[in-house]
């Protein structure tokens, strides 16, 4: 078996090993993190997240123009 092939096999073994190692560690880290978070801040995070930054508010709320348009449209619709 020539060197290129053995290097390829080395890459495969190391690579898959590392991928599994990393993701297994991540499973434990994630699980531990979730447990900790839910013990320390039981859903306390959500109200905080409800306070968006200013520009967001503008995007998420209903445009006053749209509201105006709606009223106008209703009028027009009725008068048809």
């Amino acid at each position: 078996m020539n060197e290129l092939v053995s290097e390829g096999i080395g890459l495969m073994v190391l690579g898959m090993g590392f991928v599994f190692l990393f993701l297994v560690i991540l499973i434990f880290a994630t699980g531990y993190m979730s447990t900790l978070v839910n013990k320390l801040f039981p859903e306390a995070a959500q109200p905080a997240a409800k306070v968006p930054s200013a520009p967001v508010t503008a995007n998420n709320t209903v445009d006053p123009q749209i509201v105006a348009a709606i009223s106008a449209a209703i009028h027009q619709h009725r008068n048809r």
Binding site: N2, L4, V5, E7, G8, I9, G10, L11, M12, L14, G15, M16, F18, V19, F20, L21, F22, L23, V24, I25, L26, I27, A29, T30, G31, M33, S34, V37, N38, F41, E43, A44, A45, Q46, A48, A49, P52, S53, P55, V56, N59
Partner: protein, 390 residues
């Protein structure tokens, strides 16, 4: 005057066109056709196809390097694709920015609700490394001219993740970048055709009909902390994966934090769109006849298909194994979503699941391995960059 007319004729594409360029322009048109008519990942394949046409126009100079005189003044400007390729792809900036935008579009919720599905994202990466073996065998027996770096870059097609593939290829095998990117995006588009037969061959109808328990609610705080945890783990264990994972997690943190929505919105829209246009033109610039019209491209396309298929299979098999040892039932179909190809592979798992049981909605369950596959292939990319480059 006659001389000028002759010059003009000598400047025409008809006079200068080589056969290979004509073929590559046809390849570009094929990509455009697939993008528009077949819906093959049009966001990338359309610009790549146009880029392939433009770079192969003889005399148009899209890939021309700028010329400077001794004093540093520009004598003749470079071509558009020259600047794009060397500014954004060779440097790795564009794939990283795309990855940031993808991170800002990703919801890790389903994965956090069921972290075991990370194992499925790991298993499906076997397609990557099996393909590396295939490529080194082709190289070792002199069938194709692949080095270890080439083999690694080809394998990453199996990661089913465009920016990761482009990032790795730009570092390990820039000459193969065009073929690798085209293969990666084409097969991602073909996921609904490639995966189902493999999924059905490896599972019984009962297995495919397995219903999974509903996912628990994941809190905002968990979602905010998770990208930081991933970044720190990358820092600790695999710094070579840190550029990809770090930018991906940065995008995700912008989204989940909820305090920089205008940045998150720009990362998901204006910025990723601008970079996508440039990335496509830049990748297309590597579709020159010398780099593409050879046996190696055929090898890349075949190996890429193998990579996808093996990744799908190992994902499903790992899910079957997990189902045996897990307290809660796990539908093996969601293992196929571990190749990533977000969100196509998860949708395919959902669709095949519905065929077996009309009440079986696997989409959210498959999103876990799906995004895990993105992390998995970024980790695989990091190992390759460290092993081959280091």
């Amino acid at each position: 005057m006659e001389q000028k007319l002759l010059n003009l004729y000598h400047d025409t594409g008809i006079y200068q066109l080589e056969f290979g360029q004509a073929v590559m322009m046809l390849v570009g048109m094929l990509l455009i056709y697939l993008a528009i008519k077949k819906g093959f990942e049009p966001l990338l394949l359309l610009p790549i196809g146009v880029g392939a046409i433009l770079v192969n126009i003889p005399g148009a100079g899209f890939m021309a390097a700028p010329v400077y005189d001794a004093a540093g003044h520009m004598v003749s400007p470079g071509g558009l694709q020259y600047y794009i390729y060397h500014g954004g792809i060779e440097t790795g900036l564009f794939p990283l920015l795309i990855f940031m935008g993808v991170g800002a579009m990703t919801d890790f919720g389903p994965m956090l609700a069921n972290p075991k599905t990370l194992l499925l994202g790991a298993a499906a990466q076997f397609g990557i490394f099996a393909t590396v073996i295939g490529a080194v065998l082709l190289g070792a027996y002199g069938i194709m001219d692949f080095t270890l770096a080439d083999a690694a870059a080809i394998g990453i097609i199996g990661g089913a993740d465009g920016p990761t593939a482009i990032f790795v290829a730009s570092r390990l095998a820039p000459d193969l970048l065009g073929a690798i990117a085209v293969a990666a995006y084409s097969y991602m588009a073909l996921v609904p055709l490639i995966q189902p037969p493999i999924m059905k061959a490896l599972t019984s109808n009962e297995e495919r009909a397995i219903k999974m328990v509903q996912l628990r609610h994941v809190t905002k705080t968990e979602k905010i902390i998770f990208p930081i945890v991933v970044t720190l783990l990358a820092a600790a264990f695999l710094p070579s994966a840190a550029p990809l994972l770090g930018m991906f997690c940065f995008g995700n943190l912008m989204k989940e934090s909820g305090v920089v929505d205008r940045l998150s919105d720009t990362a998901q829209n204006a910025l990723i769109n601008i970079v996508t246009i440039f990335l496509g033109l830049g990748v297309g610039s590597k579709l020159s006849s010398e780099a593409f019209l050879n046996l190696e491209t055929l090898g890349i396309l075949s190996l890429g298909l193998v990579a996808f298929s093996i990744g799908t299979a190992t994902g499903v098999l790992m899910a079957k194994l997990l189902n045996k040892v897990s307290a809660h039932p796990i539908n093996p179909l969601i293992g196929a979503a571990g190749v990533s190809a977000v969100p196509m592979a998860a949708r395919v798992a959902n669709k095949v699941g519905l065929e077996a049981n009309k009440q079986n909605f696997l989409l959210m369950h498959a999103m876990g391995p799906n995004v895990a596959g993105v992390i998995g292939s970024a980790v695989a990319a990091g190992v390759m960059l460290s092993y081959v480059g280091g």
